[in-house]
Amino acid sequence: MKLGIDIGGTFTDFVLFDNNSNQLYFAKTLTTYPDPTVGIFNGVKELEDKFGFPVKDMEGIVHGTTLVTNAVIERKGAKTAFITTKGFEDVLEIGREMRYDIYDIFLTMPKPLVPRNLRMGVSERVDIEGNVITPLDEGTLESLATTLKNSGIEAVGVCLLNSFANTSHEKALGEYLSENVPDMYYSLSSEIMPEIREYERSSATAMNAYVQPITDKYLKDFETQLRKQGFEGNINIMISSGKLTTIDGARKSPIHLLESGPAGGAMAGVFFGKHLQEENLLCFDMGGTTAKACVIYEGKPEITNHFEAGRVKRFKKGSGLPVRIPVIDLIEIGAGGGSIARVNNIGLLTVGPDSASSTPGPACYNLGGEDPTVTDADLVLGYLNADYFLGGEMKLSVQAARKAIETKLAKPMGISIEEAAMGVHRIVNENMANAARVHVLEKGMDPRHFNMIGFGGAGPVHSFGVAKLLNTKRLIIPVGAGVTSAIGFLVSPVASEKIHSHISELETLDWKEVNRFLSDMEDDGYEFLSQSGIAKKDATVQRVVEMRYYGQGHEITIDLPEGQLSEKDITEIQERFIKEYEFRYNRSIEGMRMEMVTWRVVVQGPIPEMNVEQFSTGVGGDESYKGTRKVYFEETGYIDCPVYNRYALKPDEKFDGPAIIEETESTTVIGINTTIQVDSDKNILIDLHQ
């Protein structure tokens, strides 16, 4: 038996897979503050009470949390110092000197995680090839250590210039610190992100140090409490690349947890895709404040190394602190159920990116919110059931929603309430489809070649509209649409991801050196997997290089040929590069030199099997058809639309749209000219006939 636990901002989700009965069980509890482990053990107890599975019977637990992301956004990390090469203490604050908004003269840049008075320089210098120009001045380390102790510093990040080319000075500093200030946490850039570009490396290192003490304490508590309850299995932690690490791995490099929840969602997409024989999928996840989209191509999620945390303006690229770690390439859009709609200063209807969040929330919550939101529009259109929101736990007010839309939108635009509500629904769909389209195109792919899978609280309400805009043929609304990330946790592989910077033109590569570091990285990976009980023979190795045409600034990722590399592989690598380049950009450049920059080795355990035969879902009943209600569609206006209870849907049931399918955490909205098919697992498959 395996358990996935996903801590989100509002809810903590649980998914339990029983491999004896091949059945999945779901649970949801409120996330507790300040100690989220309380919420976890509430849920653990619920699982035992409700289904009879005590935690001690679990073979493994996989966990993901928003802890790290929130610590960065809310600036609630540890008191952190930063050590760098003398003369470069301000690199962390200066950043790349670029604005993220061209027209806003009132913009503010993100403050560095370590203020200027806690950044210290040491006398040392290594050149770009790794030669020591100035030896590390060990005489100053003692006073440095004293300063750190006296300033109440809990963690320190160390990033020296060119340390990716020669790690010795950083290592020496690390050793000195661990001997002389043993209680302090420290992060070395050569271990966290050994890549060229000092600001990005400094930023990642400082952030790792900043979140390390709280993550470490939290994970220790989490593990201790689980062991106390008799749990003896493996604990793995979900990381941003859609892989799993160990508790130790997470404690060492907590920044890898930044996107653990969203990565779980994407991995669930991979799982359902495999299950339904859909190799290329667009995953679409819409919640209360944001929507996320990511691409699964040939059964694998797309990975990027460009990521930002703690944005000053949430949806503005460049307004955050860069962290170059492998993350599943998700775009985040300011479009959720709580997104506020308004008529702007030029008389146009706009939606988001700001949100009414949970308090006061949408107008229909009747908690004092006066701004019309996406949820209000969805309610007016009949997509949501005022008496069955969150399974009836929350009563919605149609009247309040209509009033907000009427005063703030319909009257100023001189149109009906329904037209305004439909406008809000369409515009938010349009925003999401546009962002998804640019995202897919950036990868050189065609959005029309993807089917879509939709989940999250608001995902099933809006997926159909977005799918129509993207010319999608088939839309899938999987079971457990409210706990998808936690499902993803259970189907992600344990893996080690190592990176190495070695910049050289392809033609003049030192192959001996390349083979040496590649094999070291591979060995480290086997060693790491063995800690989770995975044998070398069960591991798969992926070796990639990020390369570019000489003179370009963007690298693309190429799989390296297998085995020992040599000059003989040059042609093969060139061909692979050109093929990938043409795929991404529809062209290549003849005779242009190529350059290798960053090398990555992923050593990965097997993807856990999960042959689900049955989902334990909510209260069923015999009859799926609940009757009809007035629902507004763009093409028809209000019609009497059939409403179904998802829990009572029969495997292989088939009917035509339009339809509304209700479940506790969401509602699936399906427009006209569609065919709906329920599969044996109660996934809903919608054929859009386009």
């Binding site: 003369g87 470069f88 203490e89 301000d90 690199v91 604050e93 200066i94 790349r96 000197e97 670029m98 604005r99 061209i102 027209y103 806003d104 003269i105 009132f106 913009l107 840049m109 203020p115 200027r116 008075n117 210098r125 050149d127 770009i128 210039l161 060119n162 060229i196 570009r197 000092e198 600001y199 990005e200 702007n344 200063n345 030029i346 008389g347 146009l348 209807l349 635009m413 149109i415 037209e419 439909m422 406008g423 369409r426 515009i427 349009e430 925003n431 389209r437 640019v438 195109l441 950036e442 045409y549 003179g551 370009q552 600034g553 963007h554 950009y585 529809n586 062209r587 450049i589 242009m592």
Partner: protein
């Protein structure tokens, strides 16, 4: 300007408008990810503009830098009027030019315009403008003596005719520029970006059953125009005069700017009468370019949120006497005209501070310093561009940010990348305490950046520094920022603009100016002063 009422409701228009912007952004993505030029890909020094068949801009890529504001529609309108009339365009044609008076004010900026046909009729144009890695001539910088030293000039010429490449033109380009594969590669990237835009637009036309772009074009242009006019109407009518001086060559031949901004009803006129004549160094701006950098601060002050198109600029008029620094004529040298363009916001905000003090910022420690290093490293010739920025000006409600690009928006080159490409060792990069102008809100700090030649051969350095003998100006009682400096060790004369040599073992020390303050320093919050002291921003 009179436009007919349109058939689009606020919802349909909102949707179509965001699709149009999405289309140019998709094209911009294609360009940025396939170009070689550092400034194009790292600094967004490019623009993609979708235009109607009259050459009026409908949508512009959202991340583009201000230097290209309004340039492509001016170019396209000129192409239609003087070079290729409407009826002569064929599907698959592509026109190229880098004429500074038609494009963006110096030869490295290449404009590429493609017609858009839908169901066999011309419905509009899409154009890209981007900074190419090289156009021949001297090493780029402020030191050229006339236009002819600045490399190849291509008048508006068909790069492709009905899809067939003009081999002669490609050949001429390849024979005249350094790193030809990169320059030509970037031109092809621009063509590909146009093609991407056309492809996406076709889909929008089909899905929305549009027959041409005119109604939609009228609707969005009207809306942007209306927003700008409303904002201008809210400002007090009057004439606002401001004078401002910059370095020029930094050795006695400076530049003097005068501006008179007149706001009357919903129109604004910026007139540069009184500004000094064309400079002997290549820092002269053509009027197109001066317009872009004058319209930009006006847009920031009055209508920052509304997407750009032709309509945003209808209420703005920029005039300057022929032959002056901001309306240069042939054969004035133009290469480093950015240093002049980058100062115009100071002049405009200086005048606007008298009209709308809450909508402007104090002077920045700009212009952005551009440094080009050229020499040999590991047996290969290198030409490395890099950029450094000064402090940002204080705002009416907050301090200026330290070391931040304005009004252009260029990133620095990472130290480790610079050391990979060039035989230098960077010896310092730090904030410069006390360099900002004080005020109720202070400016942002400038920076110190120094590097040493650790190679065996001299490195040619093309310097374009600014504010080394003049300072960023405070607003409404705010103090000026500290001036910058260019020094070499061992000490000797080194030009702040123009060409110099950095010999092996020599170190170049650059200090960049701080931003100016806003409002009376005596009114500064004591807590903010304490914080500045604690962090060592002031001593």
């Amino acid at each position: 300007m009179q436009h007919t009422a349109t058939t689009f409701d606020p919802i349909a228009l909102s949707i179509l408008w965001s699709r149009l912007i999405s289309i140019v952004d998709e094209a911009g993505t294609t360009l940025q990810r396939t170009s070689f030029s550092t400034v194009t890909r790292e600094s967004n020094d490019f623009a993609v503009v979708l235009m109607d068949k009259k050459g009026r801009s409908i949508a512009q890529s959202s991340v583009s830098v201000p230097s290209f504001l309004g340039v492509l529609p001016i170019l396209t309108k000129a192409l239609l009027k003087d070079y290729f009339p409407e009826e002569t365009w064929k599907e698959g044609d592509v026109v190229m030019t880098n004429d500074p008076w038609l494009c963006a004010g110096h030869k490295p900026d290449i404009g590429i315009v493609s017609p858009i046909f839908y169901k066999k009729s011309l419905i509009g144009f899409i154009g890209t403008i981007a900074h190419s890695p090289d156009m021949g001539g001297q090493l780029w910088g402020a030191g050229t003596r006339d236009l002819y030293e600045e490399g190849l000039m291509v008048p508006p010429t068909k790069l492709m005719s009905e899809g067939v490449p003009n081999d002669t033109l490609f050949n001429i380009l390849e024979q005249n520029v350094r790193a030809a594969e990169q320059t030509v590669g970037d031109i092809r990237a621009q063509v590909a970006a146009n093609d991407q835009g056309i492809k996406s637009l076709m889909k929008l036309m089909e899905e929305n059953e549009l027959t041409d772009l005119q109604d939609l074009s009228d609707a969005v242009i009207n809306a942007s125009e209306k927003a700008m006019r409303e904002a201008l109407s809210a400002a007090p009518d009057g004439s606002y005069h401001y004078e401002y001086d910059t370095d020029g060559d930094g050795r006695g031949v400076g530049c003097h700017f005068e501006i008179t901004i007149t706001i009357k009803g919903d129109e604004i006129v910026a007139d540069y009468t009184g500004t000094s004549g064309a400079h002997y160094m290549s820092i002269n701006a053509v009027l197109n370019y001066a317009f872009a950098y004058t319209a930009y601060p006006i847009k920031c002050a009055f209508s920052p949120d509304v997407p750009n198109n032709d309509g945003s600029f209808y209420p703005i008029t920029v005039t300057a006497p022929k032959g002056c620094l901001v309306n240069a004529q042939k054969p004035s040298p133009l290469g480093a005209r950015n240093v002049t363009g980058n100062m115009l916001h100071s002049v405009v905000f200086g005048a606007l501070a008298k009209a709308v003090p809450d909508q402007v910022q104090a002077d920045c420690g700009s212009a952005c310093w551009c440094i080009v290093l050229n020499g040999e490293h590991k047996g290969k010739e290198f030409v490395e561009y890099f950029f450094l920025n000064g402090g940002y000006g204080a705002r009416p409600t907050m301090d200026g940010e330290h070391v931040l690009s304005f009004p252009t928006n260029v990133a620095n080159v990472p130290i480790e990348v610079l050391e990979t490409d060039v035989a230098v060792l960077v010896t310092e990069k730090s904030l410069l305490p006390n360099s900002a102008g004080s005020g109720r809100y202070r400016g942002g700090l400038g920076q110190r950046f120094s590097f040493k030649n650790i190679g065996e051969k001299p490195i040619n350095v093309s310097m374009v520094a600014e504010k080394t003998v003049t300072a960023s100006k405070g607003v409404l009682g705010g103090e000026d920022g500290q001036m910058g400096s260019v020094k070499i060790v061992p000490e000797r004369e080194f030009p702040s603009k123009g060409l110099g040599k950095l010999h092996p073992g020599e170190e170049l020390i650059l200090t960049l100016p701080g931003g100016a303050g806003y409002g009376d320093p005596k009114k500064r919050d004591k807590i903010l002063i304490e914080e500045d002291k604690l962090l060592g921003y002031i001593s």
